[in-house]
Subunit: 248 residues, 8 copies
Amino acid sequence: MDQNHLRELLEQVRHGAVDVDAALARLRHMPFEDLGFAKVDHHRAIRVGVPEVVFGKGKAPEHVLAIADRLNERGGNVLITRTEARAAELLQARFPEGEYFPLSGAFRIWKDRSIHGKGKIAILCAGTSDIPVAEEAQVTAEVMGNEIVSIADIGVAGIHRLFNNRDKFVDAKVCVVVAGMEGALPSAVGGLVPCPVVAVPTSIGYGASFHGLAALLGMLNSCASNVTVVNIDNGFGGGYVAGLINRV
Amino acid sequence: MDQNHLRELLEQVRHGAVDVDAALARLRHMPFEDLGFAKVDHHRAIRVGVPEVVFGKGKAPEHVLAIADRLNERGGNVLITRTEARAAELLQARFPEGEYFPLSGAFRIWKDRSIHGKGKIAILCAGTSDIPVAEEAQVTAEVMGNEIVSIADIGVAGIHRLFNNRDKFVDAKVCVVVAGMEGALPSAVGGLVPCPVVAVPTSIGYGASFHGLAALLGMLNSCASNVTVVNIDNGFGGGYVAGLINRV
Amino acid sequence: MDQNHLRELLEQVRHGAVDVDAALARLRHMPFEDLGFAKVDHHRAIRVGVPEVVFGKGKAPEHVLAIADRLNERGGNVLITRTEARAAELLQARFPEGEYFPLSGAFRIWKDRSIHGKGKIAILCAGTSDIPVAEEAQVTAEVMGNEIVSIADIGVAGIHRLFNNRDKFVDAKVCVVVAGMEGALPSAVGGLVPCPVVAVPTSIGYGASFHGLAALLGMLNSCASNVTVVNIDNGFGGGYVAGLINRV
Amino acid sequence: MDQNHLRELLEQVRHGAVDVDAALARLRHMPFEDLGFAKVDHHRAIRVGVPEVVFGKGKAPEHVLAIADRLNERGGNVLITRTEARAAELLQARFPEGEYFPLSGAFRIWKDRSIHGKGKIAILCAGTSDIPVAEEAQVTAEVMGNEIVSIADIGVAGIHRLFNNRDKFVDAKVCVVVAGMEGALPSAVGGLVPCPVVAVPTSIGYGASFHGLAALLGMLNSCASNVTVVNIDNGFGGGYVAGLINRV
Amino acid sequence: MDQNHLRELLEQVRHGAVDVDAALARLRHMPFEDLGFAKVDHHRAIRVGVPEVVFGKGKAPEHVLAIADRLNERGGNVLITRTEARAAELLQARFPEGEYFPLSGAFRIWKDRSIHGKGKIAILCAGTSDIPVAEEAQVTAEVMGNEIVSIADIGVAGIHRLFNNRDKFVDAKVCVVVAGMEGALPSAVGGLVPCPVVAVPTSIGYGASFHGLAALLGMLNSCASNVTVVNIDNGFGGGYVAGLINRV
Amino acid sequence: MDQNHLRELLEQVRHGAVDVDAALARLRHMPFEDLGFAKVDHHRAIRVGVPEVVFGKGKAPEHVLAIADRLNERGGNVLITRTEARAAELLQARFPEGEYFPLSGAFRIWKDRSIHGKGKIAILCAGTSDIPVAEEAQVTAEVMGNEIVSIADIGVAGIHRLFNNRDKFVDAKVCVVVAGMEGALPSAVGGLVPCPVVAVPTSIGYGASFHGLAALLGMLNSCASNVTVVNIDNGFGGGYVAGLINRV
Amino acid sequence: MDQNHLRELLEQVRHGAVDVDAALARLRHMPFEDLGFAKVDHHRAIRVGVPEVVFGKGKAPEHVLAIADRLNERGGNVLITRTEARAAELLQARFPEGEYFPLSGAFRIWKDRSIHGKGKIAILCAGTSDIPVAEEAQVTAEVMGNEIVSIADIGVAGIHRLFNNRDKFVDAKVCVVVAGMEGALPSAVGGLVPCPVVAVPTSIGYGASFHGLAALLGMLNSCASNVTVVNIDNGFGGGYVAGLINRV
Amino acid sequence: MDQNHLRELLEQVRHGAVDVDAALARLRHMPFEDLGFAKVDHHRAIRVGVPEVVFGKGKAPEHVLAIADRLNERGGNVLITRTEARAAELLQARFPEGEYFPLSGAFRIWKDRSIHGKGKIAILCAGTSDIPVAEEAQVTAEVMGNEIVSIADIGVAGIHRLFNNRDKFVDAKVCVVVAGMEGALPSAVGGLVPCPVVAVPTSIGYGASFHGLAALLGMLNSCASNVTVVNIDNGFGGGYVAGLINRV
């Protein structure tokens, strides 16, 4: 359509219906979307297999439902993160086929369960309190078409548990490591695997954890070179980037 | 060798030269490296194509030279980051075939220039002052066997320059985006590309940049979901993770 | 009135009703407002077209209503920001002609809709969650007699949307740019327009946004030289300064 | 030139030398600067009367000189801020007609002294230690074609000095207020003038000033609604925005 | 009583009822309070005219009441700060002669209204929102036997109001200055008076006020040399120290 | 059991039922716990006399009860810290022999009251508001088999009370010192005793206490060399480490 | 003089030489200093016995000397704080009668050694490293005409030294307490004396002292109600306020 | 001596040479040191085997030498930490039998090499850059009469090295764990050993390590319950507390 619009203008120039100066002026004001830039988003959706994800927190329940309706009609997998209680009820009533994850507040509707990732993604978390964030990462990476292996409660203070589970994640294509408190697990995992590690600090802790700041700083200063970091409690971001890496 | 050590013990058990209890006791005290764990590192080196990188800053020049000698003998590519003035002189005298990058202080010796990455890595930086950090990222990713496209000085305050250069990086497998001050470039790039973006905040700026804190926080809060972050000024980390992603 | 008070004293001096020493003494104790300083405020009100604005948050509902009554009697436009639920009800009952803006909590009574600004003010916001703060800016600038163009949801991660809307704001006399999370939009806008940009950071975000600190620091470190910054969530301040600039 | 480039293409389309599909393809890859976007900068330069300003700090002296040569050839006023000792010497030798301001390190070459501002800009600073930052603001605003009134050492602890000088700045179109330590002067000035106030915090102070953080926070929390803020020690930014406001 | 205890021991030594070694041992284990140190507190109470003040916040209502009973029996003035709703009710029922101050939560019972201070204490506050903290300072200083002059809503953005009220506080022996937001009032007052100024930052503000941090830092960096600072919202401390200074 | 597993494998090697290569392969994949590492925890439990402690906060009441059941069956002392209201009710109903400490939320079931510590542990706290944290430390150290002496409300502003109580703690093997606000008590205690001092900062305070940060920093900077620090409000950690030290 | 100026105007009004409107206009523009406000400063100088003190740091040596010359001519005591090496040499050469204090960099010239304070001021410091700041406080308070008792190295970790010296400061009219690291000394002193305590945090310490922040926060959170605080390392401010208090 | 002083007074009371009132007065003013408190320090020296340690940094070289002379004469082991270059030269010249440790700047003179500790102290450090701080800990613990096992470069990113060395430290009575960057090693060690772990954060790192803050916060939030923390870079404190624990 946009291409056509531009083509039409050029045809008019060719046939003399529009002279060069007028064409120049119109070209300068033609929006970029018409020139094809907005297609980036569409391409991404097609390649990645996940439509725009909705961040449910703070949105009115009816608003969330309306968005979910619209996304559902497009025919791709639907993911709504951090839904609040009332919105979750509405979603479950409208989409009985949907999955609701109460720990993280994620709601997911499957349309296409094909696998797009090249290998498996390992999602590890340090303590049981970190599980909601890890769940958000897992739900996200799955809906993008990835095979996940998920291992909970293997914090560095019980480092032998990490070793005991090593076979489960050492051959992953990418690891998502979720940890609060001192946030040390990504460094330990990073030293055991040859793949990229996406570290997700959580706000679990109290006192000098300063709502996740301690874990965040720890991960940014990791002595393992294969570690990168996303925002505190950003399980979605961790799962999303892992999903992208698994398709490079 | 380590495997042999373990095999020898088992052979002794088999032939009755060591009884089971004695074997049990020795097994429990056998270092894990002997059991094969340390091979992780070796495997990584082989797969990734880069031996352990040396962080030159703060090391005595003679010490740096000695390490470089040892690494050089192993036969793989050698990378020393953040060499200081005197160490750089010594390295250049000893390895005339080496490349010295004065902006970032990197020193590199090529042994194997084969390409291991699946696609190209784009390294973008916001301002000319960010170039040393971007250079460190590029030198690192190259020595791991990647093809790089590097674009400097395309900060968000001149956003048309970013658009003008879009064709150069839109098909990269991974982008490394280096920026100081407000650190906004990774968000803008992240919205234009479908691939993972590794953001590297720099300490460029003054006053309320607080030595890179402003850029770091900006990147961690990116509204583009494909952005992950490494430490302030950590060009090496940015290039290294990009190199890993490009091989997944 | 105050002028008259002073004039009266001088007349008394002239006619000998008050001698010089007594006049001296009274002059020294005459409040400065009587000497004309307070007129600064009055002058400003007349020029700017907006009486003293009331900050409603934390005030008792009856108190807010009483202040609104008094302001309403003065005959100028009335603006109350951040009214709370009960106060909003009282205001709507008393002033059915008033406008209530539930997102931002602003309440406005028009007396004079004449335009005082020289050109239009563009108010841009990065995400839909930033709209309440942008609304406060718009309500404020409008009540001061300005024409506004308002554009929402054009964050830097979808930079093409910014470009597509460029024609709408490029000729503004001043831009107010509202953004949370990484706060990058003011830099991008600042690079596209030749006019002053008033940046308003918002507390939208979580984790390392630290309640708007990330956005604030980002804006203070903007690489666009035409950007100045007001406090976090201070939509009123953003709209007010823009209104002043539009009359210089 | 760029316009010509585009015109030429359209002429070729008109005359059939290039067909529509080929034109389409070339248009899509034509950099935006060629399509006229970069003219924003040029337009700004023309309107504002100041070419791109060079930030001298951290640049090699010869590099600064080369840039100055190029800017000088363009024929507009030249401004280099924060030149360092050696660069200042080179500039003074090459441009004997230039002005060097040792306190702030600014170097300025006049080509056009015409006044573009609508009224005067007042630049006030709190203490004598803040003068270098105020000087940078003044040099910047002057080179953009503004009339300046500059008042030093009128901090709030000697508030009567502020009052005594009130006549000098009360009719300014915009005030730039520079202050370190507690950064209270912008609030006091903001209460006295009806115009916009651009506040520039400085790093003057010690201990709990935390390198200007105290002044910055003070200004962001100003109870005067007409105050906006730029980065710590950013005299250039303060002067530049004031220059823009004075032309709205 | 304690004195008597010690005296008794010495009498026993004198009369041989206790020998020296036994006396030595008992002296070494005799608590210091018995040796007169605790009298510091008693002396202070007598001199200052206020018994130990009770911080009501977080204490059980019945507990507050019980303490108030005990203090009331001692016969001096009673002050309970920051009482919570239920505790306030209990106190008002038990002590109908008491004064309750709902803004600050202070509860006061007068026994002795004599004046101990040498001059008057001025308590100034910047905005109406700061009044609760100023009230706590006033209630405290009054109960210690001081004459107070209290002036509200004279923030620096309306500096003429400060001047207009100058005669009321310029001859105070000590000023308590309460301010939130940018916390600039103590500097302005400090420049107008020759006496000590006790600055009390409040948590009034939002965004970059960081719960009073901005005001606190501003006051610590005051360019007026006669300013000292107490904790955020510590009206009691401000009034208490002012009361002590007024008796030196 | 795990030992048996390994022994069995070695027996099979010995008898030729498994050949060396197969044994090698199985050994490499045998989890470390099976090799005896997990026994570290068991050994610790036996030596220290306390089973794994449960952190009750944020756990579902039924979950807490289930864990308590399991721990109770193991036969050692049971400690659950920071139980919330409903969980405490359930625990009290199920374990009428248990002790509930409402201030700190600790719940404790005794199985073995034998003393394991070498000397007594002194637990001191600065103010009455710090008692809940001190209580958690005491409950913890007691359940590990230690004799405790506990002294409350001896803050440094009443330093004579510290002296008066000195005999009670000067011969302790280790002191736990709990303090909020300025956190100065550990330094004062550290100067009076020759033993290690474990300092526990609390979040008691307001304003510039920043939720315990002031106390934490004070303790980390203690001029007494025998002071170490645990996290803010971490009474459990303080008591636990003291219990370990008392057995060295 | 200023009074005369105003009187003259009123006389002219009385005699009809100036009409009322003209008088009104002139009155409005008459600077406040002429109306007597600036006399505040002069009065303070006379009462306090110290002329404006010069902050020597960062000033050119010749500039410092010139200021000293001017102050010296006025005839009052002269105090220059934080002189740097070269300025100190110049001052010593010009004023051989002056006293130079190398630890704090203070330089003092006595003109009038009369005592103005009502009692003695005690200046206590915690460690030997804090002595330069304490010295600055002492030099300042002395030059204002106060009797000082100075006690060094009585930090809380050796609390018996504080007790041993108690007789020396318990009867002071005001105490200045200087401490770095954990900054606990003011609380301990505040509990022992009935007078106001001015606390001066110092930047002595390392690591988590964060350049005096730990000491500053500790002092602001003092549990002793008679403590107020000045800026980090602000010995001058501590001595100055103490001097003012000692004259109330 | 002090005891004698008190005894003498009591004898005088007994014999009537001093009456009770006079004795009372003298007792109240008798310094506490005379009553035996100061002996605490002496006792500690005797028990612990180390005289007062001197912190050399910032002290004049001659001053350091003089202190060393005095300490040396007392006959115990002498330890001076953080000597600077010139002081180290003087010390080495004066005490050729002394040991100088250039990495940490410690200087030590042995008088008594007897072992006082009950078991060995393990000192572990994460990276080679942390060795100077670990060295300070070791030198300190040794001079107190402890047997040390020291293991370097076993950071969590190479966690197998930690396991391989486990036998060396698992039976220590106390561990000192030194780490910079993310500071994760104490948690990993804490999970492997049953003894107390004293964690020493170092300032090693860059960017978001914020001079050791990241490591400090990580350690304070350790999920291993046996970890306590000392100040950043405080190797002395780590070694000292470990030495005390090893004697409990």
